[in-house]
C-alpha cells in the first residue's frame, strides 16, 4: 500500500540534526550553549519518528498478511541507461519491528544523553551527530532497494565515525573513529561488488532497479554460484558493520565514544544492520546453502571468540563491547541457519538489554568521573541502587535466564542451530550448538564478573571518588528503568510453542520471510525446517496459536537442549559469583596459573597486532618506500628527468662544438659538402 508520509520518518531527525548543527556552529564561541533548546530539539526528532513508526505499525496491522507492506517511492534518484534507482521506502513487518526499536531505544538514549552529556561543550554538536545517525539508520531500515540501504549503511558508519571521534582532541579516539570507518569500508567493498554483481546478473532479465521487490522477483536469475558470491560479498559487508570475524576489531575501539553512543550505535542499532541486511536478502541466502553455512560458522566462531576475550577485559565498556560482538555472532548463527525470525528476535531483545547495560555502565562511569577500569570499582550497589538493579536485570537477560528477554531469543537461536540440518556440512548443527552453549557459559561468567567487580564487594578506587559517586539523574534513570522493563518483557513476544507461547514475533515477521520459505520448500529437501510448515498456517490467523505437529514431535530434544543451555547460563553465573564474589583470590590465582591463556585473552588474541603487522604496516611501508620513493620518484619521474638531463647534456655538447674558431666552421661546411657529394654522386 502506498503511504506517502513514510519519508517523514527519516526526515524528522534529519531536520533536527541540521538545526542542532546550525546551533552548534552558531554558538561555537558562546560560553553556554542553549542546552535546553538543543535537548528538546534533539529528542523531538527521534520522538516524532517513533510516533510515526507506531502509526506505521498500526497501519500495518490493519493489512492482510499477504500484502502487509507500506511503501512510498519518493523520487527517481539515479537514472542511467538500464539503471533506474529510486529513493523508495518500504515498511514491512521486518522493517516495522526494526523501526520500532530503533526509534524507541533511540529516543530513550537521546533522553539519557541530555543528562549524560550535560557538561559537554559540544552538546549541540553531539546531538547533531546523533540525530544524523537516527536519520541514516532509518534510511537503512526503510530503504526499499540495496543502493538506498547502502546510503543508510554508510551514513551510520559516518555517524559512528563522528561520534567515536567526538572527543577529537584525544588522538586515540580520533584514530578509533577512523579505524571504524575504514574497517567498515572494507566491508562496504563487498556490498558494492555484490550490488554490481546483482545488477550484472539482473540486466539479463531487464531489471536494474535493485529494489528488494525486484530482486525477489528475479531470484531465478541467480545460479547457485552467483548467489553464493553475492551472499558472501554481502556478508563481508555485514561482518564489517556488525563486527564479525574478521572485521570485528573496530568495535572494541569504538568504545572511545560517549557511552550513550556505545549504547545506541555500537550495541542496539547500527551493529545489527548486518543481521538486518542478511535478513533482508534472505531470499538470496536461501539460495546458497554454502553462504548461509559460512554465515553461521563465522557467527558461531565470533560468538565464542569474543566471549572468551570478554572474560579477561578490565575496561567496563570493552567487556560490553566484546559481549556485543559475541551476541552479534549469535544473531548471525540464527540468520545463517535460515532462522531469520530467530535472528531478528535476538536483535530485538538484545537492543533492550544491551542498551540497558551500556546506559548502566554510562551511569557508573558518569558517577565515577570517567573512570572505566573495573578494577578500580566495586560496591557501587549501595551508592547507585537503581543502576545496580537495572544492570542486574539486563545481565540476567543477557545470560539467558528465564523469563527475561534474552532467554527466549537466545534459546530460539540455539534450538534452530541444532535442529536445522545442514546440507553442506551435516555434522555442523551439533557443533554450532556446542560452541554457542560454551559461549553462553562464558557470557554468563563474564557478565557476573562485571556485576561482581562493579557493584558487589567493596570499592577499590580512591575514597574521594567513591564519596562523590551518585545515582543517575532522572533523565538518565528513566531510560534505564524503561529499558530494564523492556529487557524483562520483550521476550514474551516470542515465547516458543514449547513453553506454551505463540511466538507472536515470528508470526509477525513471517510475511517478510515468505519467499525464503517458499523457495526453501521448492528447493531440494535440505531445508526441512519446522517453522516453515507452521508458517503456512499462521497466515490465516496472525497472533493466534499456530501449533504445528512437526514442532511438537521435536518437543523432547528441544526441551532438553533448552535445559542444557539454561544450565550453562546458570553455571556461568555461579562460576562468576564463586570466583569474584566468594573467593576473589581464586580468580587471580587461576590467572596466575595460566599466564599464557590470560595474556592471550587480555591481549584479545593479538588480532589487532596481527592486522597491523600483516597488513597495515607492510602496506604503508610498501607505499612509502617502494611505490612513492622508488617507483614514483625514481622510476617514473626519474626517467622523465633522465630524458631531460640527456637532452641537456646533448645541448651542452652541441654548444661546445661551436668552438668559435672560424676554420673549424669552414671545416664543418666542407664536411657538409663532402656528405652531399658522397650521397649523390
Amino acid at each position: 500500500m502506498e503511504a506517502t508520509w513514510l519519508w517523514l520518518i527519516p526526515i524528522a531527525p534529519l531536520v533536527t540534526s541540521v538545526l542542532c548543527g546550525a546551533i552548534a556552529l552558531a554558538t561555537r564561541n558562546a560560553e553556554a550553549p542553549p542546552r535546553r533548546l538543543v535537548g528538546w530539539l534533539a529528542c523531538l526528532g527521534p520522538g516524532l519518528s517513533f510516533a510515526l513508526s507506531l502509526l506505521a505499525w498500526t497501519e500495518l496491522r490493519g493489512l492482510m498478511p499477504v500484502g502487509r507492506m507500506l511503501s512510498q517511492t519518493a523520487y527517481r534518484w539515479i537514472d542511467s541507461g538500464v539503471l533506474q534507482l529510486d529513493v523508495g521506502f518500504v515498511v514491512d513487518p521486518l522493517s516495522s519491528l526494526m523501526l520500532l526499536f530503533v526509534t524507541g531505544v533511540g529516543t530513550l538514549i537521546h533522553i539519557y544523553s541530555t543528562g549524560y552529556m550535560h557538561a559537554e561543550r559540544g552538546f549541540a554538536r553531539y546531538f547533531a551527530y546523533l540525530n544524523l545517525f537516527m536519520f541514516s539508520m532509518l534510511i537503512l531500515v526503510l530503504a526499499d532497494s540495496l543502493p538506498l540501504l547502502f546510503v543508510g549503511w554508510e551514513g551510520v558508519g559516518l555517524c559512528s565515525y563522528l561520534l567515536i571521534g567526538y572527543w577529537f582532541e584525544d588522538p586515540a579516539k580520533a584514530a578509533a573513529g577512523k579505524k571504524a570507518f575504514v574497517v567498515n569500508r572494507i566491508g562496504d567493498f563487498g556490498v558494492l561488488i555484490a550490488m554490481f554483481l546483482v545488477l550484472w546478473t539482473l540486466q539479463g532479465v531487464g531489471s536494474a532497479s535493485l529494489s528488494f521487490a525486484d530482486l525477489r522477483r528475479h531470484t531465478e536469475a541467480f545460479t547457485p554460484a552467483l548467489a553464493t558470491a553475492v551472499c558472501l560479498l554481502l556478508f563481508l559487508g555485514a561482518t564489517g558493520k556488525s563486527a564479525q570475524i574478521p572485521l570485528y576489531v573496530w568495535l572494541p575501539d569504538a568504545m572511545a565514544g560517549p557511552t550513550p553512543v556505545s549504547a545506541l550505535i555500537h550495541a542496539a542499532t547500527m551493529v545489527t544492520a548486518g543481521v538486518y541486511l542478511v535478513a533482508r536478502m534472505h531470499f538470496l541466502f536461501a539460495l546458497s546453502p554454502v553462504a548461509s553455512t559460512i554465515v553461521a560458522v563465522v557467527g558461531a566462531a565470533t560468538a565464542l571468540l569474543a566471549a572468551t576475550i570478554a572474560v579477561a577485559q578490565n575496561d567496563f565498556k570493552k567487556v560490553l563491547a566484546y559481549s556485543t560482538v559475541s551476541q552479534l555472532g549469535y544473531m548471525f548463527v540464527g540468520v545463517g541457519v535460515g532462522a531469520y525470525g530467530a535472528g531478528i528476535f535476538h536483535v530485538f531483545t538484545h537492543a533492550f538489554f544491551k542498551a540497558c547495560l551500556f546506559l548502566g555502565s554510562g551511569a557508573v562511569i558518569h558517577a565515577l568521573h570517567d573512570e572505566q577500569d573495573i578494577r578500580r570499582m566495586g560496591g557501587l550497589r549501595h551508592k547507585m541502587p537503581l543502576t545496580f538493579w537495572t544492570f542486574v536485570i539486563a545481565t540476567l537477560a543477557l545470560a539467558g535466564i528465564p523469563p527475561l528477554a534474552g532467554f527466549f531469543s537466545k534459546d530460539h537461536i540455539l534450538w534452530e542451530a541444532l535442529s536445522k540440518p545442514n546440507v553442506v556440512a551435516p555434522w555442523l548443527p551439533p557443533v554450532l550448538w556446542v560452541v554457542l552453549v560454551a559461549a553462553a557459559l562464558c557470557t554468563a561468567f563474564y557478565m557476573w564478573r562485571l556485576v561482581a567487580l562493579v557493584f558487589l564487594g567493596s570499592f577499590r578506587g580512591d575514597a574521594h571518588t567513591y564519596e562523590h559517586a551518585h545515582e543517575a539523574p532522572p533523565s538518565m534513570a528513566m531510560p534505564l528503568v524503561l529499558l530494564a522493563t523492556g529487557s524483562v518483557l520483550v521476550g514474551l513476544l516470542g515465547v516458543p510453542h514449547l513453553l506454551g507461547g505463540s511466538n507472536r514475533l515470528e508470526s509477525w515477521l513471517h510475511p517478510s520471510f515468505t519467499l525464503a520459505q517458499d523457495t526453501h520448500l521448492e528447493s531440494p529437501p535440505h531445508e526441512g525446517e519446522e517453522s516453515g510448515g507452521s508458517a503456512a498456517e499462521t497466515e490465516a490467523s496472525v497472533g493466534h496459536e499456530p501449533v504445528s505437529a512437526h514442532a511438537t514431535s521435536a518437543a523432547l530434544p528441544e526441551s532438553a537442549a533448552m535445559a542444557v543451555a539454561l544450565a550453562a547460563g546458570l553455571l556461568g553465573l555461579g562460576l562468576g559469583h564463586q570466583l569474584y564474589v566468594r573467593r576473589p583470590q581464586a580468580a587471580s590465582a587461576l590467572a596466575m596459573r595460566l599466564p599464557a591463556v590470560r595474556r592471550l585473552l587480555a591481549g584479545k588474541y593479538f588480532i589487532d597486532e596481527l592486522y597491523a603487522a600483516a597488513i597495515v604496516r607492510p602496506l604503508r611501508l610498501f607505499s612509502d618506500r617502494v611505490l612513492w620513493r622508488i617507483v614514483d620518484m625514481r622510476l617514473i619521474d626519474g626517467s622523465v628527468r633522465l630524458l631531460g638531463w640527456l637532452t641537456w647534456a646533448l645541448s651542452v655538447a652541441f654548444r661546445f662544438a661551436q668552438s668559435g674558431y672560424v676554420q673549424t666552421y669552414v671545416l664543418v661546411v666542407v664536411l657538409g659538402v663532402f656528405a652531399l657529394l658522397w650521397r649523390v654522386l
Binding site: S651, F654, R655, V662, V669
Partner: protein
Amino acid sequence: MSFEFAWHPDAWLLVAPMLVVCGTALVILVGDLFLPNVRWTIPALAGLALAAALALARWNQPLAAAEAALNGALRLDAFAIFLQVAILACAGLSLLGAQAYHERAGTGRAEFFVLVLFATVGMMVLVASSDLITMFLGLELLSFPTYVLCGFLRQQIKSNEAALKYFVLGSFASSVFLYGIALVWGASGSTQLAEIAQAPESPLLYLGALLVATGFLFKIGAVPFHMWVPDVYEGAPTPVTMLMATAVKIAAFGALVRTLLVTTLYQTLPLGTILWWCAILTMTVGNMSALTQPNIKRMLAFSSVAHAGYMLVGLAAVATTGWPAGASAVLYYLLAYAAMNIGAFTVVTLLGRRAEGELQFDRDWSGVARRHPGLGVAMALFMIALGGLPPTAGFFGKYSLFRAALDAGLVSLVVIAVLNSLVSVYYYLRVIVAMYMKAEREAPPVLLDALAPRVHAFDGPGAMAAPDVVAPPPAPRLAEARPWGAFLAVAVCAVLTLWLGIGPSLGGLPGLSQVMAWAEAAVESLR
C-alpha cells in the same frame, strides 16, 4: 661601333622598387655630407615604403616584355613582389626597431642606413632574379654590406670578429656557389633557371646543382652550413642581427624556393632525401644548441637555425612531391617568423639598454617584466610564438608547414619536428622565466654599459683591446630619450604575430586566410 642597350620602357617599372631603394641610399649618402645631424630613419622608411608601394602596384600585372628584354635577369612576378614587400617591411621594421640601439650605441650614422638599403636592394634582386648569375650578384650585393654592418661597432671585438667570420665563411660559400654556377652553366649552357630545367641530365649538372644548393643552404643557415650563424648573430649589432635573421633569410629562402621550383631538379636529384636529412639536422642542432644558451642573442641565433629547419620541412615536402603547398607554407612562415623575430630582437635592443648587463638573459633579465610590463608581455608573446603555441603566427606557420609535409607523406619528419618544437619551448620559456618568475635584481651595483669594451676585457685570449679604441660611454641624455620608434616596431610585430596566428578576414582587413592566399598566388606565379 655603337651599342644598342637592350632596354625596354617597361623595364623601368620592373626595376623601380629597387631603384627607389637605391636612390634613397644615394640621397642619404649625399645628404649626410650636407646635413650631418639629421636622423635618417624616417627618410629611409619613406623610401622603403615607396618601394613597397611600387612593387605592390605590379601585383597581378606581369611585365613579360620587359622581362624578356632583360633576358630574364629579373622578374617581377607575384613571387618576387610578395617577398620584396616582405623584405622591405622587415628592413623598415628593423630600422625602426634599431632606433633605441642607435641612441645607445651611436650607430645611427648615415652609413648604417646606406648599407642597410644597399643590402636591401641585394635581397630584392635575389628574390626577383631568375638567373643564377644575377642571383650571385644579388647575393654578393646583400652580403658585402652585411659583412660591413656586422663590423659596424669597430671598437668591439665581437663585432669585428663577427664580420671576419661572416666574411670568411660567406666568401667561401660564395665561391662554392659560384663554382656550382659555373658547372651548371657548363652542363646546361645557360644560367637561366627555366632553361636549366630543360637541360639534359649529366653528372656535371648534378655536381653543379649540389654546389649551388650548398650556397643557398649556407645563406639560410642550414646545418651543417650554419656554423657562422651564432657567432655572427651574437657579435653583430643587434639591428643588423635582426636584419640578417629576417630579411636576409627571407631573401635566401625565396631564391632557394624559386630555384627549386623552377629548375625542377628535385625530379632527378634526390633532393627530397637531402632536405629531409638537412631539415632534421637543422632543427635538432639548432634547438639543442639553443637549449642551454644563456645569451639571448646567441639563443635567438640558434633558434633561427632551428626555424630554418622547420622551413626546410616545407621544402622537403616540395622536393618530395613537387607540390607547391610546402612552398607557400614556407612563404607564410617566413612572414610569421620575421614578425616574431624582429619583435624579439627589438625588445632585446630595448632591454639590453635598460637591463644593465644586457644579454645574459637568465641573469640580467630577471624580473624585468615587472619594470617594463609592456615589453614583458610583448616578449612573452614573441617567445610563445617562436615556440609555436597558438594563438600566434608561430603556431599557424608551423601548422601549415606540417600540413604540407603530411600531405607529402613525411610523417616521421613531422614527428621529429614536433618533438623539436617541444624542446624549443623549453628555452623560449626560459626567457619568460627570467623576465617574469625570477626575483627582480637589486639595483645594479655599477651601471655597466653593454658596449663598453671592458665588459669583454676578461673574455678570453682575444680580449686584449688596444686602449686607443675604447669608446667613451654614450651620452646619458641620449639613453634617456624614449625610443618611440622601437616601441612602435614592437607593437606592430606583436599585432602581426597575433594576427597572422588567428586573424579572420574581416571586411577589407586581410586575415591569415588572405595572406595565405597571397602566398599561394606567389608560388603559383612561378609556373
